[in-house]
Each structure stands twice: as structure tokens, then as C-alpha cells.
């Protein structure tokens, strides 16, 4: 992956997340007002194609976005270079995606 592609991927995934973040914050505020229970959350989300797609895309975008971001930080602040850095950040991306996917499955399936 060239630096430019990574750059584009990070910016585009950020753009994708922008509306999600707003909605997500909104939902959280709304939910917290009434105090959250598992049933409330799950009741709203389970079986909903909309929320599945919503959080699913969110997870895809965030895994891409965060792994690229961490790759930069690993390079600049942890002095990691070359293949090692790419491998670690790819792993982080995959890990985030796996955990995220499980979570989305849990709340929407």
C-alpha cells in the first residue's frame, strides 16, 4: 500500500465515520437519559437491518482508520519501521475488525 493510498483510506474512512459518530453520540445521549439496560439496547437494535448496516460499516471504517492512525503513531513515537510496523498495524486492524464484528453481531443479530 502506498503512502498516498493509506492517506486516502484514512481520510475517506474518517468521512464515512463522521455522520455515524454524530448519530452514535446522539443515541448515547438519548439512551443515557433513561439509564441504559441491556434489554433496552438490544430491543432497539436486534433484528434491525438498519442498525446492522450502520454499526457494521462503522466497524469497517474504524478498523481501517484506527489501524492506519496507529501505524503512524507507531512509526513516529515508537520508532517502529518498515515491515514490522506494517504487520503490527495490519494485525491491529484485523483484531479491531474481528472484535467489532462480534460486537455488532451480538447487538444486532
Amino acid at each position: 500500500m502506498t503512502e498516498f493510498r493509506l492517506y486516502m483510506a484514512q481520510r475517506l474512512s474518517a468521512l464515512v465515520m463522521a455522520p455515524f459518530v454524530l448519530v452514535h453520540i446522539g443515541v448515547m445521549i438519548y439512551a443515557i437519559q433513561g439509564g441504559l439496560t441491556a434489554a433496552e439496547i438490544l430491543g432497539r437494535t436486534q433484528g434491525s437491518v438498519f442498525w446492522f448496516a450502520f454499526y457494521g460499516l462503522f466497524v469497517v471504517a474504524v478498523s481501517i482508520h484506527a489501524s492506519i492512525g496507529l501505524r503512524t503513531i507507531l512509526g513516529e513515537w515508537a520508532g517502529l519501521r518498515g515491515g514490522a510496523r506494517d504487520a503490527v498495524s495490519a494485525l491491529i486492524g484485523v483484531g479491531l475488525f474481528a472484535m467489532g464484528a462480534t460486537a455488532v453481531w451480538a447487538v444486532t443479530a
Binding site: T2, E3, F4, L6, Y7, M8, T72, G75, E76, W77
Partner: protein, 246 residues
Amino acid sequence: MPGQDQGQDHLTVTVMRGGSDAPQRPEAFQVPAYDNQTVLDVVSWIQQNTDPTLTYRFACRVGMCGSCAMMVNGVPRWTCRTHVNKVLRDGALEVGPLRNLPVIKDLAADMDPFFDKWVAAEGRHHPTRSRDDDIAPIDPAGDDRQAASAGIECINCSICYSACDTVAGNPDYLGPAALQRAWTLFNDAKDDSRDAILDAVSGKGGCHSCHSMGSCTTYCPNDLDPLSAIAGLKRATVKRAFGGRK
């Protein structure tokens, strides 16, 4: 010792000594204070009067050559045009070699990496005409020319390069001055190699590594704005990726 006459005000100056073979260590000097005194004068005074082995670099002494830049109280500055009063903290000065470059000795940094990157960013004119042709008529007020002219007065002092934490963390990063030069050329109607320029700044350590932290623009002694120039390059590469042409 001459200059250290009684009763005169003195500055306490801490200078970083050492270099490639000797570890860096601070050394303190007392230097007489004068009305019109630049940081370069202070450093020169030490070498000329107290410690003949102190190494520093200067040439023009009027802010044109960009040879005299050093860290002054933690900030990179052109020392020939920095009045001591402007930077003095509690009567004290701390002077060191430019950050982010190898130190040759004491206050003299090795500027080669800075210039190697200038070249790597395609920071040179790619001609469309020759000495046998007339000089191209160019509207000085045109948008392209304005954009090119904005960064043209860079004196390659490396202050921005020293100020930038991305340079500090990423040895491949071309740095603000080289990228600004590339942007200037990209906007120059006379330049032949716009694609080559974008290629050169899209690789490892290219413009996409910049985090817009703006220390370059904040500390450039000539009030240039590499931050915006680099943003311009990012925009141009994105445009190109979407099939846009300049």
C-alpha cells in the same frame, strides 16, 4: 579579559557543546550585554573572547543566507536577526544546534539531509524553454503565479525543518521547506514536470506524512507558510487521484 569590564551588565548564556564524536553537554558563559546585540553576536563574543574552540556558522549576517539558525531557548531561530532582548528569559539564554539534523560540532549542524530531501522532492526547475528562447510573459497577478510566489523567498535556513515534530519522528519525511518548494514548482507555469513532482511528494515520507501541526509556519523567520503549501500538495494529489488535472 577584554569586554568583561566591571559594572557592565552580563548575560548568562548556556551553550550546547559537543558533536559527532563528543557527547552533547551544556556549558555556561558570562557575556557582556550591549544595546544592539543579536544572538549571533553573543555566540561570536564567546568564540572571540573566551573560548576559541566554540564552533558556529554564519555568512551574510542579515537574514539572507540561512546559515546561522540555532535553537534559542528551545525555539529554532535565525540568530543574526534575533535581538537578544526579544528572547532573553530572566537574563539568560540557552543556545544549541538546530534540532532534527546531525550535529557536526557545537552549534553547527550538518544540513546535508535537509538539502538531500530538497532534491528528493524534485525541488528544482524542469525547463520548458532554453537560453535561446525569449523569456515567457507571465501575469504576476495570476492565481498560479501568486501561489508560486508565496513560497519563493525561502532562504533554506532549515528552521521549519527543526521545528517540525514529524521530521523528528519520521526520518523519511521530506519536511516543510522541500515540500513547499515542490508546491512552488507545481504552480510555476514554466515547469514541465508537474506529474513527476506529485509522484516525488507522494512516496514514503511525502506530503501525506504531514500532520498540519504548523510549527513550520509559526517559526519561519520570513513569514512563509509551508503548512498551506503542503496542504496544497495533498489537495493536488487527491485531485489527481480522482482524475482531476491541474
